[in-house]
Amino acid sequence: MIVVRTQRKRRTQGIGRSQWAPLVSLFLAAAGFVSFAASLTPSASSASSASSFSRAGASGAIRGRVELRRVPSVSERRPNVSDLGTASHRDLPDRLRSVVYLETAPRGAFEQTETGHATLDQRNETFVPHVLAITTGTTVDFPNSDRIYHNVFSLSKTASFDLGRYAVGHSKSIRFDKPGIVRVFCEIHSHMSAFILVFSHPFFAMTDSDGRYRIDNVPPGTYAVIAWNEGVSSDPAPVTVPNGGIAELDIALR
């Protein structure tokens, strides 16, 4: 179920949707973004990453709550009768956090060259965070904080890599230049997995523990919003961001 409410905070100058639409369509067609957006089945992290997008003078925001109607089950270790004893305690990944993002983004969103760093830690046999949302060009560090080996790898088409085995206190990094979903695993511990969602625009946000999200600095216009959690995504929900206002959108998943 999708509930859309629109609040107009203040009226400022901006580019209306009617002006954006043909430009965005042209750009998306040229950049092939539509196909990426359609294939993106996300989950995410980080507060709204759109804060640096200041091209639109009177941007608004989209906020709301993602309701998980079926809570993702806790990932269990693969049963292994070969073990000589009980496996050591590990942390459980936080599978309740979702990612909310715009299926298509305003013109100019793809022109950013801003790059940054993010961290996906390996701690107590768990990737922390379980879901990481970044923009293209971001370099992700993979420190090992455990006293045992891990071997981070991914065979995803978006990014295929294998960092090999390295000990506690060491870290390796990968720069993600292609948008899409990257599933990350540990070769040694099959119960360790994480998602990295790489966006080509900054209009996405991670939900908090209550499922609440907020995407800031969204130029006025009508957009399709998608929520993603553990490989499940919602249907695109239309939402209109008023000039300088806040659009509210609640989304139910699963």
Partner: protein
């Protein structure tokens, strides 16, 4: 020759695998099945190995089963009652045969705050390193190390009357027979069996630096048994040190009565049937080191069987075997690795009236291969083997093999 059951099984496996091959990587489910509020976890392991006929029986685990020509289905389950008690089981079917419980035991953790466990039932082997890595996904190659698979000529329930009789069976371990005890031709025993687990009680404790395991089981490491055949029990122990990250150093020992009571009765009469001097004693050491993209393993197993010899005045025939394997794996790129293993089995000499030679034909195997992960839990492996044996009908054999592995 594939039977109708085998063919049906192969079709099911092929369909299951092909149906899941995704348009894009990593879409086949790889998480175990969990229900009962997390108390019940099910995993699976499917492997399908194909190879030309192994005319020298270098890779056979009995007269009908070769590690290079096998379809194996395994269902693995864990049922947790609470933090103190869990039931673990693995049921396997090989080449479409009736499923058998490979492992089935209770794991008891008396104190949740201490890494100490008691395992009771059909438990994983205490001895050595490889026996607990027999899942196809854990083995970088397709074949097994010789010490864990290659069949020597000796039996627990049949004995040679003379050393000449023993020597006549050199290089025929997949189907040998002796005149005392059970006269039926049957497979001999490997140094350590990786295909049948121990039955008994196992204790395990560990810390960050060291782990120790001890067990009290039926049979011996070369002939693990579900039901006892000689009234004796095997004692086995293993200590593992982890002095630094990536380095694992292990040592193992095991000793137990080997010869069955029936064979002893046939050899020594009723008075000798209860004699527990005829044992298998084994020592093992293993080292593993890994870093970055490479992994190296070295393992040695020394096994001594003491058999009664009715034709000799000494009355005992000690037979020693030493298995050594060195294995390496290197990952070239994501999902692609190469691997190699060099393996040798050597045997002690025994004297006959005319000569002195090793009681079994020494075997050497060089295997190279690699694997490619189509996705995380779908792996293709290739292997090329060069086998040599200083005896037997086939003394040199090159073999190629391929394997598909799927697990969840």
């Amino acid at each position: 020759m594939l039977t109708a059951v085998h063919k049906r099984l192969l079709c099911v496996c092929a369909l299951a695998l092909c149906a899941g091959v995704p348009a894009r990587a990593q879409t086949l489910p790889s998480d175990p099945v969990v229900f009962g509020n997390g108390r019940v976890t099910l995993g699976g392991d499917v492997s399908w190995s194909i190879a030309p006929e192994d005319t020298g029986f270098f890779n056979y685990t009995d007269y009908e089963h070769s590690t290079l020509r096998m379809v194996r289905l395994a269902l693995i389950a864990s049922v947790k009652a609470d933090d103190h008690l869990a039931l673990l089981a693995e049921v396997r079917s090989e080449n479409g045969e009736h499923p058998e419980p490979y492992g089935l035991y209770l794991r008891i953790r008396p104190w949740t705050g201490r890494a100490f466990d008691i395992q009771v039932g059909r438990v994983p082997p205490t001895f050595g390193a490889f026996a607990r890595r027999t899942y196809a996904a854990d083995n970088p190659l397709i074949g097994y190390p010789l010490a864990y698979q290659y069949l020597t000529s000796i039996h627990a329930d049949a004995l040679p009357r003379t050393t000449d009789e023993l020597l006549r069976m050199r290089g025929r371990g997949w189907l040998s027979n002796f005149s005392i005890g059970n006269p039926a031709p049957d497979r001999g025993v490997p140094l350590v069996s990786a295909f049948r687990w121990d039955t008994g009680v196992q204790l395990h404790a560990e810390s960050n630096l060291i782990e120790a395991t001890g067990s009290f089981t039926t049979g011996t490491i070369s002939n693990p048994r579900f039901s006892d055949d000689n009234g004796g029990r095997q004692i086995a122990g293993r200590v593992v040190l982890r002095p630094l990250v990536g380095l694992i150093v292990g040592g193992s020992a095991a000793r137990g009565p080997f010869v069955s009571r029936t064979a002893l009765r046939a050899a020594l009469g009723e008075a000798g049937a209860g004699d527990d001097a005829f044992t298998q004693t084994a020592w093992g050491s293993d080292v593993e080191y890994s870093r970055d993209y490479y992994l190296l393993r070295l393992e040695t197993v020394v096994s001594t069987w003491t058999l009664p010899l009715v034709s000799a005045t000494a009355g005992q025939l000690p037979l020693r075997a030493v298995g050594t394997s060195a294995e390496g794996r290197y990952k070239f790129r994501p999902g692609l690795y190469g691997a190699a293993r060099v393996d040798h089995l050597g045997f002690s000499d025994i004297a006959t009236a005319l000569t002195r030679e090793s009681w079994e034909a020494p075997v050497t195997r060089v295997a190279v291969g690699g694997g490619y992960s189509i996705q995380r839990n779908l792996l293709l492996k290739l292997e090329f083997q060069h086998n040599t044996r200083e005896g037997g009908r086939v003394q040199r054999l090159n073999l190629g093999a391929a394997q598909v592995v799927f697990w969840f």
